[in-house]
């Protein structure tokens, strides 16, 4: 497995050149990794002042979470460090998103960069314990366990094998799993940063975010900002799939245009009708209009497109975006933790309406009910799972509005009989329970 890298990717609007790759330059073995990056720079950040300096460096770098929401990492660290009890760190490497494999790739190619970052993050907030969370049933957990055994870190590591469920990697679900062995999300308050593992303030960071923490500690905020945009600096990993010549994980600079990202992946292999950006909590962007859309962790464009966790899928013009969306929303409905009424009942209802729309059993009443249901479910769950699903549904109705009209007239396109493009996990690789 190799990583395809965009060297010196152009940055939107900034004109600055920085050398990429950054995250994947150092090798997978501990020796290779140390030869490239040296020891963890804990000495430079020793003591209370050192910790504060480190949080400051992450804040100044402008690093934002790579797990989906794009929240400023330095601010989260400061919140966690300000708690009364000794904090805990969770490194989130579950990557339950089927359209993404950048975290798995990163953990396979540069595991020690992630682990160094977790050690540094623990130091920054004053934690003595790191829970490394990965999906169970993959070889990653075993490999990481072997790598951990070779290291001598000032933290206690605990590898957690998480059920293969879309919502079990949500931060409160990880806290719940570690505390009580139940991988379902919890209601807020309290949020994990206030009261998480063992009632302690808990820093939950995506594994890619942590790898950037390691690089910022080594090279400084100024270096980090040499690529990317002002609001969204640094490089970021994206998983490009669908109808492109070289589907793979790429390291790009935020601000790069959607069309350039597709070109970096070898370009389209057939005419593209739309591109899904931001995985299954993301938005459809109609093509070719969306070619010039700059991709960052901020919402841009008419549909509020953002990179999210970096899953990008190019859909051929011949495929049916409505049918694809109906199928994924059905999957998301099945993955609900079935704890909150609007999520438990609303998501299946929305999936059924979407299927009706896609497969030509649509009338104006169904269409109206669908919009009403989307509005009814959004923001009504304990976690953001329903919000992600409704964002996807809403963007499909807008991006495929033309197709929708055709379907409303009782026609279905030939697209519905094409093989699906959006990936879903095999049933055998999906857990049913939450333990």
């Amino acid at each position: 497995m190799t990583i395809m890298l965009e060297r010196g990717a152009r940055q939107g609007g900034q004109g600055r050149q920085g050398a990429l790759p950054r995250l994947l330059a150092g090798g997978r073995k501990l020796g290779e990794h140390r030869a490239t990056y040296g020891q963890i720079p804990l000495r430079r950040f020793s003591g209370e002042d050192g910790r504060r300096m480190l949080v400051r460096a992450i804040t100044d770098a402008g690093l934002r979470g790579r797990g989906g929401a794009g929240f400023p990492t330095g601010r989260k660290m400061a919140n966690v460090a300000a708690g009364a009890k000794r904090p805990v760190v969770i490194a989130n490497g579950c990557e339950s998103e089927p359209a993404s494999r950048k975290d798995k790739m990163l953990m396979a190619c540069a595991p020690h960069l992630v682990l160094d970052g977790a050690v540094l993050a623990a130091h920054a907030v004053g934690a003595d314990r790191v829970y490394l969370c990965v999906e169970r049933g993959t070889s990653i957990a075993d490999r990481l366990e072997r790598e951990l055994a070779q290291r001598d870190d000032p933290v206690k590591w605990k590898l957690v094998r998480v059920p293969r469920r879309y919502v079990s990697s949500e931060e409160s679900a990880l806290v719940h799993l570690i505390n009580d062995g139940d991988g379902r999300p919890l209601a807020a308050p309290p949020r994990p940063f206030e009261k998480g593992v063992g009632g302690r303030p808990t820093l939950v960071d995506n594994v890619e975010t942590l790898a950037h923490v390691a690089l910022i500690a080594a090279y400084g905020p100024g270096w980090f900002r040499e690529v990317g945009t002002r609001n969204d600096p640094g490089s970021t990993l994206v998983t490009v799939g669908g109808a492109v010549a070289r589907p793979n994980v790429y390291e790009i600079a935020p601000g790069m245009r959607l069309g350039e990202v597709l070109d970096a992946a070898g370009g389209a292999v057939e005419p593209i009708g739309a591109v899904l950006v931001g995985g299954y909590f993301g938005t459809w962007v109609p093509m070719p209009d969306g070619w010039g859309l700059p991709l960052t962790h901020d919402r841009t464009g008419p549909l509020g497109t953002s990179l999210g966790a970096g899953g990008i899928v190019a859909l051929p013009a011949e495929s049916c975006g409505l049918a694809e969306t109906a199928r994924v929303v059905r999957y998301l409905a099945e993955e609900s933790a079935q704890q909150c009424g609007p999520c438990m009942f609303g998501l299946p209802a929305i999936a059924t309406d979407l299927a009706a729309v896609a497969y030509g059993r649509c009338d104006p009443a169904t269409r109206q009910r669908l919009s009403r249901r989307i509005a009814q479910v959004t923001r009504r769950g304990a976690c953001r799972h329903p919000d992600g699903a409704t964002r996807l549904a809403t963007s499909a109705l807008a991006a495929f509005a033309g197709d929708l009209e055709t379907h409303m007239d009782g026609w279905t396109c030939t697209g519905v009989s094409r093989d699906p493009i959006l990936p879903l996990p095999d049933r055998r690789h999906r857990d049913r329970g939450w333990k």
Partner: protein
């Protein structure tokens, strides 16, 4: 519209605990409606002062203790 209460109290629901029993709708129809599955849709902006006492009654009456009166939004999204 009367003035919001000085503490900025908001009525919020823990959707995991809520079982759609709907006694909150009876006690506070001004701020609660039901969705098509019978779960409460609650207006979370700070309550007007004259509704605070009603809201406290709704909080106390919820059989699963799913309701809460709080100055802070549970989740900023």
């Amino acid at each position: 519209m009367s003035a919001p209460n000085p503490e900025g109290l908001r009525l919020q629901v823990d959707m995991i605990k809520c079982v759609g029993h709907a006694s909150c709708l009876e006690l506070l129809p001004e701020r609660v409606s039901l969705d098509e599955w019978g779960y409460p849709v609650i207006e979370t902006d700070p309550l007007p002062q004259h509704l605070v006492a009603h809201a406290r009654r709704a909080v106390a009456a919820c059989p699963t203790l799913a309701l809460r009166l709080d100055g802070k939004l549970a989740r900023v999204r």
